[in-house]
Symmetry: C2
Subunit: 341 residues, 2 copies
DNA sequence: CTGAAAGCGCTTACAG
DNA sequence: CTGAAAGCGCTTACAG
């Protein structure tokens, strides 16, 4: 009973007394075919539950209509929200999506890239591993398959890149704190030079400069792993200083939540004594007390935009290499952690 | 420069002076081929960066080595954790994974099922939409393609089902509250008869019965949408009662967190006056104050197990219909919301 | 308006 | 041990 074979064009043709060619053309609405023929062919096709073998079609036409997606870790709400956008947009345009994880492992990333290419995907959407050094191994793939990077990108890879307006978002967040009257604004960022961390830091610096505030090296803290526990740890350091900051801008929500937990412990009033701003608008940011002011990153729009640009490239191949960077707008969500009465 | 064609068997054969057949067999380690030939063929293949066209291979062998996955909503941490398990296990076994969403829409679910089948996936992994009534439309697919259900399942679909030990997990959670000395234990569950809600409710009832506690209809509350806000709403109702419950078992973490927020508002001491237990071990459960006691569901194990059973069925097709239910063990994580000194 | 035939890249039963 | 040939299901240039 299992694996009952699907109906093929051949069977339809036999049943109808037409040739395979005619049946194929009728189903594809080829202008040469008479409308009577089309009607009768389509009727029988429906009746017999004919469904074209997409594998054969893809094989024949050298177009799989599959997009390959590679992300560091799928089990992240932000990542899966991007994937949701990718799935929706791809489906709308008649593409299917194969997803795989690099697990933040660069060798695995290259391997997946090769498998995808070998498999015959029409294009690749990728978010890079945390540290992607060996760009040279990515480049040869680019010659064969259109690629678009999103979220974790690198301008060393010459292709379209979809990101959020990291720098501007950080500027706005810090500006918000300044408008609140805060003067000594600490930042918690990443040690390594990730694209995202760098940009957010740049936005922080620009805001201070723009409003004429001094840059105080002592309250610029970095950590390898920008997590809740490290957010807490660094905040403890800030609290032990003779002159405490009056606000903390953490470049991720998790670190900001760690900061809030540390502030709770020392009974520091939020936001009166120290205000806190995060980045991501994760679910957690609404659970923590006080609710966290943060930057909302529209994951689904990132995904949809990436798909749009990729399909554009697939369907209108250019011979020239185009490197454009598309910035998706974010918005600051002000909540109790920075809301002064 | 784009779309440089891949090397084919034909080109390898021409280069080597062998026939295509021989080259194919040499690369696949066919026993008939001399080892010298194999060595030289493989060497050239490597040198020329030959990669088999998986599309052609799949087409020819009628095996795509692709698994189709259909979930209601990918942008859910629990779902994406299951997907992570699926991806890892599938990759380990040489399968690729196509993911799509049903958006909790039954018509879409059928459509995706048909697309997957048409596309030629070797098997399907599915988590059902919230209300799946038209099982008859799912059944014909089962005749053509092996399928395994996970998480949101239905015993009306005759195939392997991977679930967690819902009933037992709920029993353990309630038992834990009883051991704490709680006597009036409220439950917040779903109105509609979802598989998960029913089982958890059954476990709740069994625990009460086992320990000789009365079942009090008034503190058994249901809601259509088992969310944070409804958890809060129902808890307000519980607090307005003349005789309040001394514990709340919410069948999801979100509802439990809503309960905690309502308790905070009315300054009810947790867990002394009212203890709270949730279900899922979501990230939020550690962010809320007090940290929430909850049931940990190992998503990745669910995913891995589902893949194992599916591939087993693909590779050893049975003519008989086998409906087995596999229960993945969960564990109760006790935290401050039910921790009495 | 319709059909016969080639071919996408591979595997495999058949022949030697 | 190796090769010529068929065929998976489809599309499409060529011919009529």
């Amino acid at each position: 009973m299992k694996k009952k074979r699907n109906i093929t064009l051949k069977e339809l043709a036999k049943e109808l007394g037409f040739s395979i060619s005619t049946v194929s053309r009728a189903l594809n609405d080829h202008p040469d075919i008479s409308s009577e023929t089309k009607v009768s062919v389509k009727k029988l096709a429906k009746q017999m539950h004919y469904a074209p073998n997409l594998f054969a079609r893809g094989f024949r036409s050298q177009r799989s209509h599959i997009l390959g997606v590679i992300v560091p870790n799928i089990a992240h709400l932000f990542t899966s929200t991007i994937l949701k956008g990718i799935l929706e947009e791809a489906e709308l345009r008649g593409y299917r999506v194969i997803i795989s994880e690099s697990n933040n492992n660069e060798a695995k990333q290259i391997e997946m890239l090769n498998t995808m290419s070998q498999f015959g995907v029409d294009g690749i959407l990728m978010s890079l591993t945390r540290k992607t050094k060996k760009i040279d191994e990515v480049l040869p793939i680019l010659n064969r398959i259109p690629m678009v990077l999103f979220d974790k990108v690198s301008n060393k890879v010459p292709c379209t890149q979809i990101v959020i307006n990291e720098e501007e978002a950080a500027f706005n967040a810090v500006e918000h704190l300044i408008e609140l009257g805060k003067q000594r604004i600490a930042i918690i960022k990443e040690t390594e030079n990730s694209y995202n961390s760098e940009k957010r830091y740049a936005g922080y610096l620009r805001a201070l400069k723009h409003y004429g505030l001094r840059v105080r090296e002592k309250i610029i803290l970095s950590t390898e792993d920008i997590s809740l526990s490290h957010g807490r740890r660094l905040t403890n350091i800030l609290l032990s200083m003779k002159k405490r900051p009056d606000a903390i801008f953490a470049i991720t929500d998790n670190a900001a939540i760690g900061a809030i937990k540390a502030l709770h412990k020392f009974k520091v009033k939020i936001p009166e004594e120290i205000a806190v701003v995060g980045f991501s608008n994760s679910v957690n940011s609404t659970i923590i007390q006080p609710a966290l002011t943060t930057v909302d990153q529209p994951g689904d729009r990132i995904g949809r935009t990436a798909v749009k640009f990729l399909i554009e490239e697939i369907e209108n191949p250019k011979t020239d290499v185009i490197t454009k960077t598309v910035e998706i707008k974010t918005s600051l969500i002000v909540r109790d952690s920075s809301l002064m009465a």
